[in-house]
Amino acid sequence: MEIPYTVDIREDTGLTSPKLGIWLFLASEVMLFGALFSSYILLRVGSTAWPVQSEEVNVLIGTVNTMVLIASSVTMVMAWASLKMNNFENFRVYLASTIFLALVFLIIKVFWEYIPKLQHGHDPSTNNFYALYFTMTGLHALHILGGIIVNAYFLIPGAKMWKSNPEQFTNRIEIAGLYWHFVDLVWIFLFPTIYLL
């Protein structure tokens, strides 16, 4: 049995079901990160002593990582555009670059940020800044990891669908892209909050 409007657009709503679904999912993600940012504000304004954040974290590495993520957003949208233009080879290159950049982000995060901090004895129990730093960036990193898994699926096993149903496959990449841009956007808020303010 076919579920209608999985691929086709429903006329009166102007949407396919997966697209509406991902936007709702992102709405709930906004609430998730919204709660995290609100908690950050509440704990910081309620604290008696808060470290100067830019002295605790490495702003340079944070900036580099911001650039890496923005670049991955560009390659992600190019991957989708390539499919729209019926260029499957370019799609593979762009999607692979997206995954590569995401891995670069995680590697920088873990080896140049998390591990040195833990080696210096700065772990989540040190103070509430570190607790929030590890929780917020950690949850964001988990989202990056999720994005890598989904994109890797579409790069290799999921790509078979391009042959059987190119339209649905393009839609899937668009939806993966929406998620990916959202994860980027979260970082755009995290970076100033954690590194600069």
């Binding site: 579920i3 679904g21 709702l24 609430m31 709660a35 995290l36 509440l42 772990d123 607790a131 929780t135």
Partner: protein, 634 residues
Amino acid sequence: MVEGIAEHEVTAKKVHHEELGWWRKYIFSVDHKVIGIQYGITALAFLLTGFTLMALMRWSLAYPDEPGPWWIFISGFTIMGIVVFLIGGIKRPYISLGGFIFIGIAGLVWYFTTQDSMLPVGTMLPEFYNSLGAMHGTIMVFLGIVPLAVGAFGNYVLPLQIGAPDMSFPRLNMASYWIFLVGGVLMLTSFFLPGGAAQSGWTSYPPLSVIQPGQTMWLIAMIFVITSSLLGAINFIVTTVQLRAKGMTWMRLPFFVWTQFITAFLLLLAFPALEVGAIFQLLDRVLGTSFYMSSGMVIGGEVVEIAGGGSALLWQHLFWFLAHPEVYVLILPAIGIVAEIITNNTRKPLWGYKAMVYSLIFIGFMSFTVYAHHMFITGMGSKVATWFMTTTMIISIPSIIFLAVMVFTLWGGSIRFSVPMLFALAWIPMFGIGGLTGLPLGLAPPDIHLHDTYYVIGHFHYVVAPGSIIALFAGIYYWFPKMTGKKLNDMLGKVHFWGTLIGMNLVFGPMLIQGMAGVSRRLYDGGLQYDHAQPVLFLNEWMSWGAWIIGIFQVAFIINIFLTLKKGEKVSDNVWEATTLEWSAAPSPPIAHGNFSTVPEVHRSAYEYNVPVNGRIEEFAPQNQPEEPVEAEE
């Protein structure tokens, strides 16, 4: 009608060339009807478990520090299990397997009696009483009522009522059920871990919840339950928006669909806050962070070695941001069910359908703005309190509209006192009591006196027990013929109804009195140690017997379900002569994977009972009944 069913079965076979294996058909099914029934069975099992925990607690409240007759519980549940095995026999495994639920609960109670930390020498330890209280609340709210109201009824009925072949994302639907089940099983497992189950109430306020044993498993289980709800909520919203049948405009939606739609938004947007709260609490416990722990905390005479600087209030904000909308998650589907049943049994259109819909949207929006009325005594300041008092008073208006609409719908109707209608009728005054007793709690001055007393318990149990649960019972009696093709026995249904209604009032009414006398809600001895509680202490015994009476009358319900499954006679597809699509367009039970033999088209609003249709008054005009060209007058 029997011929009709046979016809549908033939069509069903034609449509499905490939036969699904047993596992894919009944266990890992993606059919919304099977998933709905799975949710229903699981949720009912959890409701019974949660009820049993409370029935044990009531012993300690009525007869503190006395050895309890636990063997009555163990043997009672064992006998129920054996009876169900006997009803089912080898021939009907779908009935016999139900017996394991009762044997399982008997086993759980037996396990409690063997543990030195729970019921040593037959008396209940205060710590174990706390565990039972925390687990009763958690199980009832998150694993019982919500899965039954949303997971079961929403899943089963919503796609049928809008004329959809299934949910928009069937595999996601299956995933939500299995994630929910894992969460539920983990929650129960915590009884068997060293340290026992969570002890800090269903609200889990820190710092107590951070230092008490057992809480870690609660948090992990909650993260599963939350994830499941989020996935389910996305599915409900997308299905309602995208899969409405041709002609099913927003204002023609049955009211039940509207309630599920708004409920899904509440789940979607409120649960992430608790997810964050739960992650923080988990980190506080596991990694030693101080999100909720303030500096210089002393536990048991020793200063705790933590960084400090956290805020216990942060949890309350995150928790109540979820938990107030959650209250509406518990009650809105119930209102939807009652609206369906009342219109169907008064044979009148729902009075003020549009007012109901707008109230519903308004209540959904407002439910995010009132949560701090749970926190009046935290010292939030009178200006903030004034804001939350105002919003709380405003949100009571749509609730009153719901009640008024139900009463106006009764006006002048020729009421059919069927069993679902009895439950729905009882819901009106019961939810009324629940709502009205909430008003003093929504105003800071009386709340300061009533906070954390039995009055609060009485109030919200009136909302969720004779409110939600009564409505859910109504829904089970109403949609059981749709799910199985068989109607539940009326006599047993009436016995169940009166026993439950009287029992519930016997339990929750006296709580309001005790609360006004100032009895705290968290005492394992029911207030025995306090002078001010002495005049109302005798009520503890009444309430306990009320609770046990409720339990005994549920036997009628359980036997009714299993006997009907075994011996019940097939009824017609539209046994209640209803207008909505699940009755008028689909067979009972609807066709597996696809629901309808022909895709329904909608031509009219949801409740056209005894209104002019095609120039004449019809007893009822189903939504899919086409318009006829108006004939010239003779």
